[in-house]
């Protein structure tokens, strides 16, 4: 078997085990060092995966594990998110009990994401998702001394286990109807499977499990509580890595395994997307806790991404991937700042961010860029992702009027989001009654994380062509039917 396809996964696992073991022999004073070692290791893996290390396309484990343009695209972003989260976590290396374990678990969750990017079989999909979810149960409740963290962990545990229960039951039905769990083999016989009610029920139940991961309506209940209660570094990883892993699998199932059924169900997915956007945007308006606000914002963003999945076209898939790329940079920039402020002030209320513009210009700039990009204002990455998504949705208005409704709702969502994101910006630069004006000292690792993400947000916003091209290749590799508009231009 071709083990070279799994090089990145094997190296990442070894790094995680290494960090865990090193903790046994290193003195407590060297704990901070371990965070730097883990971050450096992930940075080396990232350059390796993006550069020479990317293996040629192929499959391993009897077609279960696949390396293609799609998996390489997502692996780069997962490693990037892991790197930034590890850099952020150095900030709390002194306060977090069991810091080395936190680093090791973060890396293990990343391994789960790497496998999820390559999963081409329902069995591997389930195992990879569970590796991510079970690790996150621990990461969410890691500040054991804080009741909020434990409570968030228990809520995530119950709802996560419920979602995996649904998904496993769905996979059993899919296996029963198709007599295989491989995505390629299912794609080959999807026309006859589309007539089997057992298969369709199984598919719906599986989508419940994925809907939980991406926090789409009606499986979004956990997101605000867990985002608020978890340590800020974990929340950042949940909002980027875990959500992107859910979308990687959703795209592989929807566009790779059953593209015809996806096109048939586009109104269902579109409806879910519309409700998700409205729910996230409306609930975000009265929030005072910035972490909870990010939870609702994450729900709304899952809604936008679902619109791209519903478009079930090459441009829709490309838009989803490009949006996710910009979204990961943006959210990481935001949480790198939120993490520092929450650590210093022990509060995640908007008032804790008051006068941040005076207390630390770097942090204030980072968070402002993140909020402006999330609100979708040019020339930042968030604008470009939204633009591509809405363009892909608009291409379908001619065939189905429901896409017009989706477009209108998305525009309303953007307008609402400007209001609640700029509430945070206003608190930072135009505070009502800021009492504490002492400067906040920022560690080198956080400084690096913020600068890296802000540069990424600007770069993807100003010259997104390279990213869009890679995204297009990735989606085309999944046999997506080109949308009507693209066939039209190709005919000319």
């Amino acid at each position: 078997m071709n083990y070279s396809l799994l090089t990145v996964e094997i190296l990442a696992t070894l790094l995680g085990v290494g960090v865990l073991l090193a903790d046994l022999w290193l003195p407590a004073s060297a704990r901070k060092l371990l965070g730097y070692v883990a971050a450096t290791g992930v940075a080396i893996l990232l350059t390796y995966a993006l550069g020479s290390g990317a293996p040629a396309d192929g499959t391993a484990f009897g077609g279960m594990f696949v390396v293609d343009a799609m998996s390489n695209y997502f692996k780069g972003f997962f490693l990037l998110a892991t790197l930034v989260v590890l850099l952020m976590s150095i900030e709390s290396s002194e306060t977090l009990v069991g810091y080395a374990e936190y680093c090791a678990l973060t890396i293990f969750a990343a391994v789960g994401m790497l496998f999820a990017a390559s999963a081409n079989d329902f069995i591997l999909m389930f195992v990879a998702l569970e590796l991510i979810t079970v690790t996150f149960y621990i990461l969410v409740s890691f500040s054991r001394g804080r009741l909020g963290s434990l409570e968030a962990g228990v809520k995530y545990l119950i709802l996560g286990a419920l979602a995996s229960g649904f998904m496993v039951f769905g996979i059993a039905f899919i296996f029963g109807a198709a007599n295989t769990t491989n995505f390629y083999e299912i794609a080959a016989k999807q026309t006859e499977l589309a007539k089997s009610p057992i298969f369709l029920v199984g598919l719906l139940l599986t989508v419940v499990g994925l809907g939980f991961k991406i926090a789409a309506f009606p499986f979004q209940m956990w997101a605000p509580d867990v985002y608020q209660g978890a340590p800020a570094t974990t929340t950042a990883f949940l909002a980027t890595g875990s959500k992107a892993a859910g979308f990687a699998l959703l795209l592989r199932v929807a566009f790779g395994a059953v593209p015809d059924i996806t096109a048939h169900w586009s109104r269902l997915i579109l409806g879910l997307g519309i409700v998700t956007i409205l729910y996230g945007s409306l609930c975000a308006i009265p929030q005072r806790s910035v972490k909870r606000l990010m939870g609702y914002s994450s729900i709304a963003n899952a809604g936008y991404l679902l619109l791209g999945v519903a478009a079930a076209s090459l441009s829709g898939g490309t838009a989803v991937l490009s949006y996710l790329g910009g979204y990961i940079f943006t959210v990481l920039a935001g949480f790198a700042v939120i993490n520092v402020v929450v650590n210093r002030t022990e509060s995640d209320d908007v008032s804790a961010f008051a006068a941040l513009g005076q207390r630390s210009p770097l942090l204030a700039t980072g968070l402002t860029v993140a909020m402006v990009s999330l609100a979708g204002i040019p020339p930042l990455a968030g604008f470009f992702g939204k633009f591509l998504l809405l363009k892909a949705v608009a291409a379908h208005i001619g065939t189905d009027k429901m896409f017009l409704l989706a477009l209108l709702v998305a525009c309303v969502g953007v307008v609402l989001s400007i209001y609640y994101y700029f509430g945070v910006v206003r608190a930072m630069f135009w505070p009502r009654n800021a009492t504490d004006l002492t400067p906040i000292a920022v560690g080198g690792a956080t400084r690096l994380a913020v600068v890296l993400c802000v540069v990424g947000v600007f770069y993807l916003g100003i010259c997104p062509n390279a990213l869009v091209r890679t995204a297009k290749q990735a989606v085309a590799g999944l046999n997506v039917p080109p949308s009507a508009a693209e066939v039209h231009t190709a005919a000319k």
Partner: protein
Amino acid sequence: MSDMIQAGLQHYLIVSVLLFSLGLFGVLARRNLIVIYMGLELMLNAANLALVAFSHFNANLNGQVMVFFIITVAAAEVAVGLALIVALYRKRSTAHVEDLTSLKY
């Protein structure tokens, strides 16, 4: 012996769906975290039963391989889950879902 009914695929599936519904009912109706957790395990085992039945009647062993993965993952999940519930109990002296109200807006 000849008048005994041979159990077919649909019989196994009916039991499996019943088990699943029972588990789901436990999760939705019960208020104790441990009992909710038992319901969740019941749901996973319903899927196991369905997989083994499909595997037998389709003459395809892949389903039984999946069952092993589910059992392993469920064991890991229980280990982490019970540890979490115990940690919460130590802090809060309760395992009831009504008492989990510290996160609000």
